[in-house]
């Protein structure tokens, strides 16, 4: 009788344990509040980098500055963001992105692991000038 009671209690306990919370994308919501971009890459249509040097990421000013090669096809680029653990990006990158409107730089929002902190980064692209 005692054993049966113990099993029942265990079942009830397991059944009522709180599920891990997930967001609307099915991603785990954690306790992390960090919210920043740690690395940025830009690939061309041939999936090779178009940067002339590493992108400069300012986590205070929330800017990403990168210089791309002369002749880069700005309408067909694949951006790649590396984010702090558990963070996610909005909007999602699902394919080629058109960066050709240099006067209206693209903005991407980083959302922290606990989904409480949001920081919007602006990506500034400069094309390598012709000498």
């Amino acid at each position: 009788m005692t054993i049966i009671s113990l099993i029942l209690i265990t079942l009830v306990w397991v059944r009522c344990a709180k599920d891990f919370p997930v967001d609307e994308d099915g991603l785990l919501i954690t306790s992390r509040a960090q919210c920043y971009v740690s690395n940025f890459e830009l690939l061309g249509a041939d999936f090779q980098t178009v940067r002339t040097a590493a992108a400069v990421i300012d986590t205070t000013a929330l800017t990403i500055n990168t210089i791309v090669l002369y002749g880069t096809d700005l309408k067909n680029l694949y951006p790649q963001f590396s984010l702090v653990t558990d963070a996610k990006l909005d909007p999602k990158i699902t394919g080629k992105v058109d960066f050709s409107d240099l006067t209206n730089p693209k903005k991407y929002t980083v959302i922290s692991g606990n989904r409480q902190v949001k920081k919007t980064y602006t990506v500034y692209i400069t094309v390598q000038p012709k000498p």
């Binding site: 061309g44 249509a45 041939d46 999936f47 090779q48 090669l69 002369y70 002749g71 096809d73 309408k75 067909n76 058109d98 390598q128 012709k130 000498p131």
Partner: protein, 327 residues
């Protein structure tokens, strides 16, 4: 009550061991009798007009029953004149080299039939068949019937196919040289110098150039005549002005074009799905093993240009092209 069954356990074990250890009688397998045949297709990838489809056709009969008299292949569409059936049977020697032994007279093509008549007393042979894909087969399907006849009157046959023949064209190892033969025509799949380009101005889709510009990675480039910013120092022949859409690739080493170890094949279907929306009309900084998808200004052709090699010293580039007629 229960213990009386424990005595049965050793007995069961003995029975299991007895049956499991029983020797199976071995008998030497008997070979097939009569004339037999088999066939494999040796080539992979799309079947392109002008290329070969290669097969290996094997036939054998027990020596006591007879010998092979002839072998033939009937294609549903007659092959190009270069089609032939080997009259040698190959074996691989200790050094890994295929050595051919002549077993019959050279093959004879009659309409869509290719035949070898055996001249050696042979009871087993594998002959290779090279079907040179004719223009008539473009966009069609081809089937093959391999057959052999033995001296005892037996006949065997083996059906292969159908195999789809692609619509695309292919041209290999075209050499473009800066400021000389640098005008590329997708319609003609050729590279022209300025004088010939002027005479074929409506067919010139791209210009090849090489520029070593300090501070820039320009190097080897393909640019539309309309992309004048990327044609420094070039005076275009009269009438050459088209804008050709392009999409740069890297390491898309199509086996037919690159002839390297990679098992990648660009097929007809690939040309149809390339999205040229917002595609530029130039590609610069090209290296060996790079390439470009191309769509002509009128949308008539799509092509894939593969860079086989580049040479800075001679300002030249060797390219191979697959081209698909869109409309």
């Amino acid at each position: 009550m229960q213990r009386k069954y424990f005595g049965l356990i050793p007995l069961i074990l003995v029975i299991i061991v007895f049956f499991s250890c029983k020797n199976e009688e071995y008998s030497v397998p008997l070979g097939k009798t009569g004339l037999n045949n088999d066939c494999i297709k040796r080539t992979l990838g799309p079947n392109i007009v002008g290329n070969n489809i290669e097969f290996a056709y094997a036939m054998a009969i027990p020596a006591l029953e007879g010998k092979i008299v002839s072998a033939q292949v009937v294609a549903s569409i007659a092959g190009a004149p270069a089609t032939y059936l080997e009259n040698r049977s190959f074996y691989t020697n200790a050094s890994g080299v295929d050595v051919g032994i002549t077993v019959g007279s050279p093959s004879v093509n009659t309409d869509n039939k290719t035949m070898v008549t055996f001249t050696k007393d042979t009871c087993a042979s594998t002959l290779r068949y090279f079907y040179s894909i004719p223009e008539a087969a473009r966009g069609q399907s081809v089937t093959f019937t391999f057959s052999a006849i033995s001296s005892n009157g037996q006949t065997v046959s083996y059906e292969m196919g159908p195999y789809a023949i692609v619509k695309m064209d292919m041209k290999l190892d075209l050499v473009a040289t800066d400021n000389k033969a640098c005008y590329i025509s997708i319609a003609d799949m050729a590279i022209y110098d300025a004088a010939t380009a002027a005479a074929n101005a409506d067919k010139i889709d791209l210009v090849y150039l090489y520029r070593a510009i300090t501070g820039l990675t320009f190097n080897h480039a393909l640019a539309s005549p309309a992309a004048t910013e990327y044609l420094p120092g070039i005076t275009l022949p009269a009438g050459v002005s088209k804008s050709t859409k392009m999409s740069k690739t890297w390491a898309l080493n199509d086996f037919n074009l690159a002839r390297l170890q990679y098992g990648i094949y660009i097929d007809d279907a690939d040309f149809k799905v390339i999205d040229f929306t917002n595609a530029p009309n130039f590609v610069i900084n090209l290296k060996a093993q790079a390439g470009a998808w191309v769509e002509t200004a009128d949308g008539k052709y799509r092509a894939y240009i593969y860079i086989n090699s580049v040479n800075n010293a001679t300002s030249s580039m060797t390219v191979s092209i697959k081209r698909y007629l869109m409309k």
